[in-house]
């Protein structure tokens, strides 16, 4: 899967999980940029992404993310 096909559904997931219909993901976005992005909503986000893209992320992959750009790259690599 490439970036362009990942971003629209990922946007929808972010909007849903953080309950903000105006939210648009960007590469340099990090947790402090988004209201309500704590360790709990992080888990909600991971589970929603796994379900949407039919992938399974390892602990190290999740821990290794430093911003949303990394997340988009990771999903693009793993999702078919």
């Amino acid at each position: 899967m490439n970036r362009d096909t990942v971003i629209p559904p990922l946007n929808a997931i972010f909007q849903d999980v953080f309950d903000d219909p105006s939210l648009e993901v960007s590469d340099d976005m990090t947790a402090p940029d988004v209201e309500g992005w704590d360790s709990l909503s992080h888990v909600n986000l991971i589970v929603a992404v796994e379900k949407e893209f039919k992938i399974r992320l390892t602990t190290a992959e999740v821990r290794g993310l430093s911003n949303v750009g990394d997340f988009i790259a990771l999903i693009s690599r793993k999702a078919t």
């Binding site: 849903d16 309950d19 360790s39 709990l40 992080h42 888990v43 909600n44 991971i46 589970v47 929603a48 379900k51 992320l57 390892t58 602990t59 999740v62």
Partner: protein, 588 residues
């Protein structure tokens, strides 16, 4: 009662819905505290939404993470300040596992089970809340393979034994219930229940996809303890209780029995019978001629359910919604405490449409899956079970029989006559005293003076023949025995006779019992030669029903104050009313 399965148990949906919730003034309210050694935050939106969908506004208190003991043992904790109605102890297997691995010594099981009791004790001491303890899904990790079971200190054995002990402790305490999380996890699949990544990231109780099932179970337990329970199952017959159509195939031609085509229905009937034995009433609602519908119950030896198992049997060609209303009226229970099981989607939809309160589960096409489909809905959740439950069916069946008869008579006199009522009146005796005292404690409406005598006081009057004539009455009729239903205590010490107490169970109102007893009382007075019978009515918030009790028998009101009224009767002026009760000769 089962939470209404209005929509899917999807984690994302429940979280989304929870954001839109506003308390509804028409809903019941409940305060639920949740204490967990996993993250409790993820429970909250699920519980709120599920409660809301069942017309309950839930206020939820979350204890600090992994601070169950601290909150429970400290009487000044936020938990007790919150004044919860229900306290959920959501212990999880991963936290138990950590403690197990860190524990020194062989006494982990003892330590863990004492901890459970210590926490329950503290909760009971400082709160009157109902406690719901989650048990532990069995761990997947094994040290010895299958040999784990032979090693009592293995994690697997310890967890299984701890679950047994939790169940055992809960049986000894009326305020504690166990949420069988192990049953939920096993049924969904423990392989998918545990998610070690989510546990590592945020101490998630289990994979989030499964959390709604646990939340649902907790909601069902709380609803049942609020009195929302199923009391009656209404059954269709053809292709629900047996295979085929009795009108076409005949009572012996239908598919029912332990082998072959009838086996699925046989199992279904066994399950339904087990529900009846635990206190769920059974009713039949079938589109059939009554005679045809009854035949299999009477004539087919492979039928597990017999005619006597059915409290109300309705078979006619009317629409089922109307018939279900009639069943409701006969049993005097709410529509929302009834489950309707019918293989026909048309009938199911009709009942859903016309009687929205009734619980109407989808039945799968294959009758072999009926029991499973019903069990997955957990329709019969309860928070109590007593011997009385097992006898309920019989009591209701008698009452239903009486009503059925009543509708076929035009005059009440004809009806009362047909009941063939027998009464037994006797002076208090030691065997009857416990029930007498119970009736004295419980009777509120038909009670002239509402003196609450205990057993010892009843025995004192029983022995004091010079001053008291304390009487009780039992009533039976052709449908069954009502038991001891009335108490009349006469003071016979003076030249006038005083009716000191008169009370009766409201189950036997309008049968002529009080008329029968008054005639007896007057007979006693005449025999003793007293010139006046006096009586007293003391009003309470509940006994307005009997404020004119004496007037109907010709008593004259001689005094009326805020504290009640006083009445007199000259026994020679008494005119006995018509009564359809005969005296039963005592056998002993």
């Amino acid at each position: 009662m089962i939470a209404q399965k209005t929509a899917s148990l999807d984690y994302g949906r429940l979280v989304r819905e929870s954001r839109k919730l506003r308390p509804d003034g028409a809903h019941q309210n409940i305060r639920v505290a949740i204490l967990s050694d996993a993250a409790s935050q993820q429970f909250v939106p699920l519980l709120k939404t599920l409660f809301h969908e069942n017309c309950v506004n839930a206020e939820i208190y979350e204890g600090a993470f992994d601070a169950i003991e601290l909150e429970a043992l400290n009487p000044a904790s936020g938990l007790y300040e919150f004044l919860p109605g229900v306290i959920v102890l959501a212990n999880c297997t991963q936290a138990l596992r950590s403690r197990y691995y860190e524990h020194k010594g062989d006494d982990f099981l003892e330590t863990a089970s004492q901890r459970v009791q210590r926490i329950w004790d503290a909760l009971q001491r400082h709160s009157s809340a109902r406690v719901i303890q989650c048990n532990y899904p069995l761990p997947y990790e094994r040290q010895f393979g299958n040999y784990d079971l032979k090693v009592p200190q293995s994690l697997y054995s310890v967890t299984a034994e701890l679950n047994s002990r939790i169940a055992l402790y809960a049986r000894q305490r009326s305020n504690a219930l166990v949420c069988d999380v192990e049953a939920i996890a096993s049924y969904l699949g423990r392989k998918h229940w545990f998610d070690e990544r989510l546990w590592a990231f945020s101490k998630a109780f289990c994979h989030l996809d499964h959390l709604p099932y646990l939340a649902q179970s907790l909601v069902e337990m709380v609803l049942s303890s609020m009195g929302r329970v199923v009391k009656c199952v209404i059954l269709d017959l053809d292709n629900t209780l047996w295979g085929g159509v009795v009108g076409d195939d005949g009572p012996l031609g239908i598919a029912i029995g332990p082998h072959g085509d009838g086996e699925a229905f046989y199992h279904f009937q066994q399950y339904i019978l087990s529900l009846k034995k635990r206190g769920i009433l059974l009713a039949v609602c079938s589109k059939n001629n009554r005679e045809t519908a009854i035949q299999p119950f009477l004539e087919n030896p492979d039928m597990v359910l017999k005619y006597e198992d059915i409290t109300v049997f309705v078979a006619n060609w009317e629409n089922k919604a109307g018939n279900i209303r009639a069943i409701r009226d006969t049993l005097e229970i709410g529509l929302d405490s009834m489950v309707f099981l019918d293989d026909n989607p048309f009938e199911r939809n009709l009942v859903r449409e016309l009687l929205p309160g009734v619980i109407v589960p989808e039945l799968p096409e294959d009758p072999a899956d009926y029991v499973r489909a019903i069990c997955e809905l957990n329709l019969f959740e309860t928070s109590s079970f007593s011997l009385e439950d097992t006898a309920r069916s019989e009591l209701y069946r008698q009452e239903a029989g009486r009503r059925e008869l009543q509708t076929s008579f035009t005059s009440i006199d004809e009806y009362l006559q047909s009941l063939e009522m027998k009464i037994e009146v006797a002076r208090f005796d030691p065997a009857a005293v416990p029930r007498i005292a119970q009736l004295i404690q419980r009777s509120n409406q038909f009670n002239l003076t509402t003196h609450r005598y205990n057993e010892a006081e009843c025995e004192t009057m029983m022995r004091d023949e010079a001053n008291y004539l304390p009487l009780y009455a039992r009533l039976s009729d052709r449908f069954g025995d009502h038991g001891l239903i009335s108490v009349v205590i006469l003071n016979v010490s003076a030249a006038e006779m005083e009716i000191r107490d008169w009370l009766m169970s409201c189950r036997v109102l309008a049968r002529g019992v009080e008329q029968y007893l008054m005639t007896r009382v007057v007979a006693v007075a005449l025999e003793k030669g007293v010139s006046r019978i006096s009586g007293h009515y003391i009003p309470t918030a509940k006994n307005a029903m009997v404020k004119d009790f004496f007037a109907q028998f010709g008593f004259e009101k001689v005094l009326e104050t805020d504290g009640g009224s006083r009445w007199h009767l000259d026994p020679t002026a008494y005119r006995p009313p018509t009564i359809y009760i005969t005296e039963k000769q005592r056998t002993s």
